[in-house]
């Protein structure tokens, strides 16, 4: 189990250009597998163009209390990139004036940003339809200063979306660290206790499943059924929806794929499962990702690969919705992760 980020370890793969180099060379350079651009061109879907903005996803910092094996952010306690209140103010201006109906806060553990609560309070006033916080659950139990988070989320009608890799302790702790399963269960029970995830409740609690290794997620509906039964039978836990998300071959997951000699097979699996219908609804077409320092990206993955939006409007300080709409999405081979099978997005399947 990792305890430090790749960045802290000085691993080559902490550099985004090294990751892009790996994704561009080897089996893709030799033509053994088609590049993502070639593949979507077969169905005349190149270039992918941004449609109307619906979701603003803000990464408030890469600091996290966990060091999960497959984290695409390479997040961890040693990451110091944190969004400042000034940048948050700029984000609030954009939220007020944009047509986006969903605000999605992510990290790292977003709750670890010292201005997180201020930001949530201010953002909740703007009157966005769906206000998501991606919480890793264990943060709620990490320190007593976080114990009241379920109440805080409830007060601001936050939609909680939480990672839960499996309904068994063994598989969860293997991916996310020893003790994560028990803490997550406790946190879910506390969220349930204040009304989150209960049938018919407006306090939305959704879980995110991503595979614990070099394989693709199974059918989202079937997985949701299994999760619901197991969590209810074993712990009396309720939740609303399960989002099955594919691991994209970047950062720590890419490092894992290479170290375990699964990289080529995994890329084959993604390419074989390519689904043109998923390309139609891939999340970059209605989402913008904002980094801790205010830069704009087509998605959180491109943010980590430091592939900025293809637009003159590149920073929250010069945000221009009209300019951004219709922009060509920046792609590379990691994009196969969002178009495999039923597709994958931060909201689960797309096709």
């Amino acid at each position: 189990m990792a305890t430090k980020s790749l960045k802290k370890l000085g691993n080559d793969l902490a550099q985004s250009n090294k990751q892009i180099e790996i994704l561009s060379n080897g089996i893709f350079k030799s033509g053994e597998l088609p590049t993502f651009k070639d593949k979507i061109s077969e169905t005349s879907q190149f270039p992918i163009k941004a449609k109307k903005l619906e979701i603003l996803q803000i990464n408030v910092g890469y600091m996290c209390n966990q060091v999960c094996d497959h984290c695409h952010v390479d997040a961890g306690p040693d990451r110091k990139e944190i969004m400042t209140r000034d940048t948050m103010r700029q984000c609030l201006e954009v939220i007020k004036n944009s047509g986006a109906h969903t605000l999605d806060l992510t990290g790292g553990a977003p709750e670890m940003n010292p201005d997180f609560r201020w930001f949530v309070e201010e953002a909740a006033k703007v009157g966005i339809t769906d206000f998501i916080v991606r919480s890793n659950l264990t943060i709620i139990r990490a320190n007593k200063k976080y114990y009241d988070l379920p109440e805080f989320f409830k007060k601001h009608n936050v939609h909680v979306v939480s990672s839960m890799p499996h309904w068994t302790r063994g598989k969860t702790d293997k991916q996310r660290g020893d003790g994560v399963f028990d803490k997550s269960i406790k946190a879910l029970q506390e969220l349930n206790a204040v009304g989150y995830g209960m049938p018919g409740s407006d306090l939305k609690l959704d879980l995110v499943y991503n595979p614990s290794g070099a394989f693709l997620p199974g059918d989202q509906v079937a997985m949701e059924k299994d999760f619901k039964k197991a969590l209810m039978d074993d712990f009396g836990i309720e939740f609303h929806n399960l989002f099955a998300i594919t691991n994209l071959p970047i950062a720590r997951f890419l490092d894992y794929l290479i170290a375990s000699e699964n990289y080529e097979d995994y890329m084959y699996s993604l390419v074989e499962a390519y689904n043109p219908a998923a390309v139609e609804n891939v999340m970059c077409t209605n989402t913008l990702s904002i980094s801790w320092d205010g830069y704009l990206f087509d998605c959180d993955f491109n943010q980590m690969l430091e592939l900025p939006v293809n637009s003159k409007s590149r920073h929250i300080s010069d945000f221009n919705e009209e300019l951004l709409e219709g922009r060509n999405i920046v792609i590379s081979q990691h994009c196969y992760g969002c178009t495999a099978g039923a597709g994958s997005s931060c909201q689960g399947v797309v096709a």
Binding site: H166, W167, T168, G170, K171, Y209, P211, G213, F215, L216, P217, G218, D219, A222, M223, D226, F227, Y268, E272
Partner: protein
């Protein structure tokens, strides 16, 4: 340089069998796909059956394929191992139940 009879990468080429007999190959893959669809049995149950049979058939390609398939369905390693024991129990039972034939023959010849 050794040349193994089995190459894991050959599994990806399985679809190519249609190239030398399109009608039969296509019919087979249509049938195969249909068999694994959700039916009176769930796709998950079928995947576990396939994993057990893959072992009794000792097909390395099928073992690779259905280990991955069961993992994708969230099936735990304990469940996977139990499924294989079911196959193994039937295999050993099938061997041992023939012991009755041996006993019958002994009793007839040397009774």
């Amino acid at each position: 340089m050794s040349k193994p009879y089995y190459d894991a990468a050959d599994l990806r080429k399985f679809g190519k069998i249609t190239e030398w007999s399109e009608e039969l190959g296509t019919k087979f893959f249509d049938y195969y796909g249909k068999v694994f669809e959700e039916g009176a049995l769930t796709a998950r149950e079928k995947s576990l059956i396939a994993l057990a049979v893959a072992h009794t058939e000792q097909c390395p390609y099928c073992i690779d394929a259905y280990t991955k398939d069961t993992l994708q369905r969230g099936i735990t390693k304990e469940q996977m191992m139990e499924a294989i024991h079911v196959g193994a129990a039937i295999k050993s039972g099938a061997t041992l139940v023939h012991g009755v034939q041996m006993m019958n023959k002994v009793n007839k010849l040397d009774g």
